[in-house]
Symmetry: C2
Subunit: 452 residues, 2 copies
């Protein structure tokens, strides 16, 4: 099955994201999708909080004059902004933009909170909806008009060095986040012509979806003093002088959720990393007339025991649905582990444990169940990571000249870094997008790919 | 100090909500405010999830034709809707409203998920930002143009009875939520002329702020089949017939956060219920040259011990700030408990425990610390609840005739229920808003008040 067909089917049939809303590029997280999103956000929040970031919430409506203040910035966004022009039946005095991103919202406010070097550094973030009037083909969670999940961090520093260190910290945080989600990535320094509008440079994380196309899943921007000058954010230095603050910002969107779904899935449906799976273990009792009570009692005991050990467990004891159908359903929605409990196994004090990734079944003694599950889930996550890495590597091709590229399709291409060819024309020549400068197996390359 | 002045000062100085954003009715949750909000939302989510509600996320933009579909509904909102008319430089084919609430967004989608009685009931909710073009005087978190926190639940049922039971369940859930937040309330059945536009009847929760004005903090609406008919949401009944679903919806907004702040606070600042306090216990070491290490080591041990018992603790060992200033700061931001640790106390194996509500200090032996803290915090919460209830009762006046109302100011007024006077003219006659029919100490009344 083509990836894009697989992807659409998964979103619908696993009840993750409903695309039937009649506004282009706007969809709905259904309960199961929402739970996956929550788990992904838990990983992101934890990493940011550990490094001293504080969560906030800023307004969504941006006055036209604010958005227009930073010349480079607005050039990057003016064609993609939704405009509110009316309130009730009245025309507004000033047009309001739906935030495409929040630099121009947050910085005028933070200006009021920054007086002296003692107030710095400040590291904040918010997780909000934001809006882009995409004219290209939209794709659920990947290219949308309402980005329902936009985690944007913004930092403020007293020196250039501290700000550059923050950029490094952000890259490290993102590595940890994507590693925990078992998503492989290239780290690319975006070319000048594709950096964040108004920023100094952009470091991006790109993964590769099964289609062979690259997907940008995170970006880290060094803003230098550009926005500080535009929004007049000054502070008193240790030496008693006035200086503009140094800033960085970094974002992750719904695309990280799309990647988790797309990268680990297989022909039988979703395969979810255990930390993201809303249900980590499903228990299916095999119900027969004479042994029903015994099997159900034991199933319930096991559920309680697993929950005590911190697992998210579901016991499915519906009697009108046969086990085979249940197996299929929970495999499809990516539940990592299934425990089957039948009367015969119980006589032996054993259960059957099935893992979603390899589809292997093993018999496990009830006495060792927790110990074995801990081990299996560890292996399961490691295997997901390895498999994803393998697939990822198989979709990367190293070439030595531009000519070689022509015969390659559906891959991300690395060509040894060469200043002479590193310019915007390279995109025209190859018909590919230049992702930027990257390091791969300790060598420096230019990365090129078809992108989403 | 006037309440409205106190309230503005608290939002600013406790760094809860920044009002300096230049779009009327739009503000910013700062980190401390955001944490309070998170804790309040935890209470709300827990209660809804326990009763089988599932969280989702639906789009923000509403096509004009959808919003206009339900005639009563749009009449209630058409003067308060923000309209998006342009994307980039293009005019949109159809105007899009910023959701004022999400009935017209959610119902067309849920229609696709409801085929038969077996799909019912469905109980979902989302927590989102929504927008009202308020022309009245705005007030932070109370009357705003961007409602940053709108929890809206929507339920779908196969029968009228089940739907009415759901309304009852919702009222019970809201009671539990407000009880946990230690917010007293009247439960009023709103009059016909003030029910939810498009609904059958509305049950509202009203609290009273220290100004004596009533504040609506939660509403539960029985929608009957009105919206189902408008959006053609049908299902196959057990008997194989087609019927429209029965619906209810219920909402809570930022106002619940405003109430928590306003109701418990005193002349020294915030007083937060322990379940909502971002910091539950602050430890202040009294640092002197010779005993510094010993005191800091012990302080840290105590912090670890308290965290082990699930408390949110902060140890403030800054040396450049004297304890008195720290006391003032943490009292101001509403930290329930302060532990002071000095060298003399330590010799006695004791610490001083201060509670924010009564401002009492007691010496507690280190051996009994956890046990005593558990007890003190329990008393603290009970005291907050009692105090709030007392204040609440003191702002309610029962009268026997409309004439008596004229001499009363700054109170919520209850007048025995009488069909003959229960009409919209009552508002004109009294200059007050009719909150509706209510029960107070087992008697039936009409409740009247100035409102926010």
């Amino acid at each position: 099955m083509e990836f894009s067909e697989w992807y659409s089917e998964i979103l619908e049939k696993a009840k993750i994201y409903d695309v039937r809303y009649p506004v282009k590029g706007c969809g709905c997280y259904l309960p199961y999708g929402f739970k996956i999103r929550e788990k992904v956000l838990e990983v992101i929040r934890k990493k940011l909080n550990e490094k001293g970031h504080e969560e906030c919430l800023f307004p969504m409506l941006v006055p036209e004059t604010f958005l227009m203040k930073e010349a480079e910035h607005i050039k990057g966004f003016e064609d993609e902004v939704f405009w509110v022009t009316h309130g009730g039946k009245e025309e507004l005095g000033e047009k309001l933009a739906l935030r495409p991103t929040s630099e121009t919202v947050i910085y005028p406010i933070m200006r009021e909170h920054i007086k002296s070097h003692g107030d710095l550094p400040i590291k904040i973030y918010q997780i909000v909806n934001c809006f882009r009037y995409e004219t290209k083909h939209t794709r659920p969670l990947i290219r949308v008009r309402e980005i329902m999940t936009f985690k944007e961090a913004h930092t403020f520093h007293a020196s250039k060095e501290e700000c550059l260190d923050q950029v490094k910290e952000a890259v490290e945080i993102y590595k940890e986040i994507f590693d925990e989600l078992e998503i492989p990535y290239l780290i690319c320094r975006r070319p000048e012509w594709d950096k964040f509008p108004g920023g100094e440079f952009t470091i991006a994380f790109d993964t590769i979806l099964p289609s062979g196309k690259a997907l940008q899943i995170g970006t880290v921007h060094n803003l230098g003093q550009n926005f500080a000058k535009t929004f007049d954010i000054k502070f008193e230095t240790k030496e008693g002088k006035q200086d503009y603050v140094y800033q960085s910002c970094y974002g992750i969107s719904d695309r990280v959720i799309a990647s988790v779904l797309a990268i680990h899935g297989d022909e039988n449906g979703l395969v979810l990393p255990s930390n993201v799976a809303p249900i980590q273990i499903v228990i299916i009792p095999l119900i027969f007339k004479n042994t029903k009570d015994k099997v159900l009692t034991k199933s319930n005991e096991i559920r309680i025991e697993l929950e005590k050990h911190g697992y998210r467990v579901k016991l499915d004891s519906r009697e009108d649905i046969r086990p085979g159908k249940k197996y299929y359903e929970y495999e499809y929605i990516g539940v990592p582990i299934r425990i089957e409990i039948g009367p015969k196994d119980l006589e032996e004090e054993k259960v059957v444990v099935f893992r979603r990734d390899t589809k292997e079944k093993v018999k496990v003694s009830l006495n060792d169940l927790i110990k074995e599950l801990n081990k299996i889930i560890k292996e399961y996550d490691q295997n997901l990571k390895n498999r994803a890495k393998e697939k990822f590597e198989s979709m990367i091709v190293v070439v030595n000249s531009i000519e070689e590229i022509k015969n390659i399709d559906g891959k991300v291409i690395l060509i040894p870094f060469d200043k002479k060819i590193y310019n915007e024309e390279l995109e025209e020549k190859t018909g590919l997008k230049v992702l930027g400068k990257t390091k791969y197996k300790d060598q420096k390359y230019i990365a090129l790919a078809k992108t989403y």
